[in-house]
Structures are given as structure tokens and as C-alpha cells.
Amino acid sequence: MAKLELLQSINAHKGIVWNVSWHPNGNIFASCGEDKVINLWSKENQGWAVKTMLVDGHQRTIREVAWSPCGNFLASASFDGTTAIWDKKSGQFECNATLEGHENEVKSVAWSPSGQLLATCGRDKSVWVWEVAGDDEYVCEAVLNAHNQDVKKVVWHPSLEVLASASYDNTVKIYKEDQLDSDWNCVATLESHETTVWSLTFDKTGERLATCSADNTVKIWKEYKPNNELGVSVSDKESSWKCICTLSGYHTRAIYDIAWCHHSGLIATASGDDIIRIFKEAEDCDPDAPTFDLICKKYDAHSQDVNCVKWNPTANNELVSCSDDGQIKIWKFLDE
């Protein structure tokens, strides 16, 4: 039987905990929430303990935090309309750059795999791509207005400079930089969800994407490149993305986050029904019509909505989650 074993439960923030982010070394994670505080947690002998508290960075709720791939920078996106970049060049963590430009709430921030680009999105319906231009310098490369409602989440492809965004307009969009004129363009629109798409996650190859929505479903999408063997029609030399699997009937309320583990291949979901679920791809299934089985369902994972789930990047099957109840929980996935 597969199960999620609770390793530790932490009263982490006052009010809603919106997001958690693992440091690439897997020994530290950051958390943020309604209390406008960023907490950095590290593993001590007694378990996870707060090591640093970053206060005064933002005037309103901090919606998302993200470690850079090198682990030296932490970005935080806030309802106050700004994105802050923190580092500890001076010996302790300080905010050394602030990205301004969104008209109002910034809802998500993500570093590209090289760490050279940042993406942000928000209620003003736009997605911004920023380039790291030097020490504490960030230059806006593109403002993408492909969505017609607020944008909930931005996520980068695991190895390429390909960006995906999820929106209140029920769609997911994929963006790439045109090699000829260096312009960023929306190259694909993924339509199938019936209402807000809250989050998305690439698999380790970046050729599949899992999305989750307030329509209580998870959808798996596959990239079909030009001249693909299956003969899926592809226009304009860009790949097309096709929904190859819908997981419906499992969640009873909105699904706020989804995480595809790049080591185990397991998919974890965080839902407004207080449950964390783990899905596993069936072996030997058709790659163009795969089956995913629900292998673990943790009832009352939190006492309120689960807002975020993240797999530890070091392949130890640890999962961290956070909730409206002010708590963070660290879990170990066991498949016995």
C-alpha cells in the first residue's frame, strides 16, 4: 500500500500559507503567506525549524516564492504589485532588487532553468519576462498579453526557455522567443478546462504538462512536434499540445496546485477538499492515451484548503504542503 507518512507539522504563518519552495539542495525551503512574511526553514536534528524570517519586503500578501536554480536568489511575488529578489551577498538575506511594472497583484514568479530569465504574472492579465542583466539588475524583455483574464501561475519548461501560464480565462498558454526577431510570442493555447486553471507542472522531459483547475479535474497534455509519427496536425512549424488524459471524479473541490516529481514520475495534487492525492502512471500504457491511477489519498491532510504541494528536488520522496490553516506539513511518500 502506498501512503503519505507525516514527518512534521509546523504552525508556520499567521493566516493563510499560500506557497512553499524547495531550495535546490533540498535542505532548505521558503514559505510565504497572508502575514507578509517569508520564512526560511532548514533541517536541524529536531526536524525543520525556522532559520531566517524576511519581513518588511512587501506591503501585502506574499503569494509565491521561488528559489533560483543556483540557490543564491529567492524571488517573492506579492499582491502589492511588486516582485522582490533576495540574496545574501552581504552575509544575510536582503532584498537587493524590486521588479515593478504590474498594475496590481502579482500572483506567480518563476526562474528559467538557466536562471537567466524570470517570469511573473498577475491580475492585470499580463505575463512579464525579465532578463537578469547584471548584479541586482533586471530588465523587462517582454510583456505578454495573451490571456483575457487574470493569470494565476507561470512555470518554465525544465530544460528549455519555454514558458507556460495558467489563467482565470480557463486556458493555458505556451510562449517562446522567436529566434529571428527575439520577440516573445504565444505559440500554443491549451483549451479544455471548464473554469479557472490554478496551476500546472511539466514532467521531467518537458514534453508533457499536467494542469489542475477549479473544474475539479486534472488534465495531462502532450506536445506533438512538427512531423510527429502519430500524424497529429501541427500548424506553423510550432508544436501543438493535445489533452491526452483527464482525471475527473477524484477531486470534490477546486484543485489549487499540482506537482509532477521529476524522479519518481508521481503526480501530487493540493485541493480545496483538504485532501492530498498521489497519482501514478500505469505501466506499459499507450503514450498517446495514458492511464493514471490514484494510489494514495490523504484525507484531512490539512484542516482547511491545501494551497500548494512540492516534491523535494533530491529524490527522497519528501513532499511539503501548506494550507489556509496556517500550517506547513512535511510528508514522506512510502510505496510498500
Binding site: 500578501t61 503569494r63 499582491f79 477546486a254
Partner: protein, 154 residues
């Protein structure tokens, strides 16, 4: 001053006050929430445009409250006085805020427009169901002041 959307709404009589029974006073009794208790929490919210309660305007009615104690679900349907009421989202937000403040956090609260009673029913419902937008709205002091005025009994 802005003229109200519905200048002359129908006004209905208020219901009676809930009678306190012996079992209400029994501290030992495990007492579930009932439809009437949920209704009592929201009936005295005032309309943003009139010095009247949502009950007097029949925006909220006891029969439009659904409670499921076992699954911790509360569902409230509200009925704008006119189908193009521009205050529908604000009224829904006031109902939601009042319930979130009054009920234990284990409850999942859904507030929706009564089917077929508003031109933007779907858009209003979607907005009221988006917890991130609600959280952001509740950080807006001006809006919170307006909501507090509404939820303060008339």
C-alpha cells in the same frame, strides 16, 4: 450622488425571532448548525443601496440556505432585486465575509446567485468562488469598510 440601480424595491416583512429552546441552553448537548442558524447570521446584513436588510428585500431567504453538517458544507443562494443589479458581487462578498467570520473554519462556504436571477450570474459566481480574488479584495481597506458597513446590523 449615484442613483440606486433599483430605486423602489419591493420590501417584505421580517421573519420572527428564533425561539430559544431548552436544548439550546444545554452546554453538554452536541448541537449541529441548522438552516435557521445560518440564515440568522446573514439575514440582518444591510443592502449597500437601501437602509434595509437582505431579508427585507428577500435577497436572502431561509429556504435558500443549504447546510450539510456531516460534510461541513454551507451553500447560500442569494437573489438580486433586479437582474442587472451592479451590486450583486458586493452583496455576495458581504454574505461570504459574514459567514467566514461567524462559522468555524471547518466549513466550506459557497455563495452563489439564485439560478436565473442575474444577467451576469456565471461571472458573479466565478468571482465569488475565487478565494485568491476574495483574499486580495479583503486587503483593500476601502472595500472592507463598505463590507463592514453592510454586515453591521441595520
Amino acid at each position: 450622488m449615484k442613483v440606486a440601480d433599483n430605486v423602489n424595491p419591493n420590501v417584505y416583512e421580517k421573519g420572527s425571532v428564533r425561539e430559544v429552546t431548552k436544548s439550546d441552553l444545554d452546554e453538554e448537548l452536541n448541537d449541529d448548525f441548522d438552516q435557521r442558524e445560518i440564515f440568522d447570521i446573514i439575514r440582518n446584513i444591510s443592502d449597500p443601496e437601501h437602509p434595509l436588510t437582505l431579508e427585507e428585500l428577500r435577497v436572502v431567504e431561509e429556504s435558500n440556505v443549504i447546510i450539510d453538517n456531516k460534510n461541513n458544507l454551507v451553500h447560500v443562494y442569494f437573489t438580486p432585486t433586479i437582474p442587472h443589479c451592479s451590486m450583486a458581487t458586493l452583496i455576495g462578498l458581504s454574505i461570504r465575509v459574514q459567514l467566514l467570520r461567524a462559522l468555524p473554519s471547518r466549513f466550506k462556504v459557497t455563495v452563489e446567485v439564485t439560478e436565473g436571477t442575474h444577467v451576469s450570474e456565471h461571472a458573479v459566481n466565478k468571482q465569488l468562488a475565487d478565494k485568491e480574488r476574495i483574499a486580495a479584495a479583503l486587503e483593500n481597506n476601502n472595500l472592507v469598510q463598505i463590507i463592514n458597513q453592510c454586515v453591521r446590523s441595520v
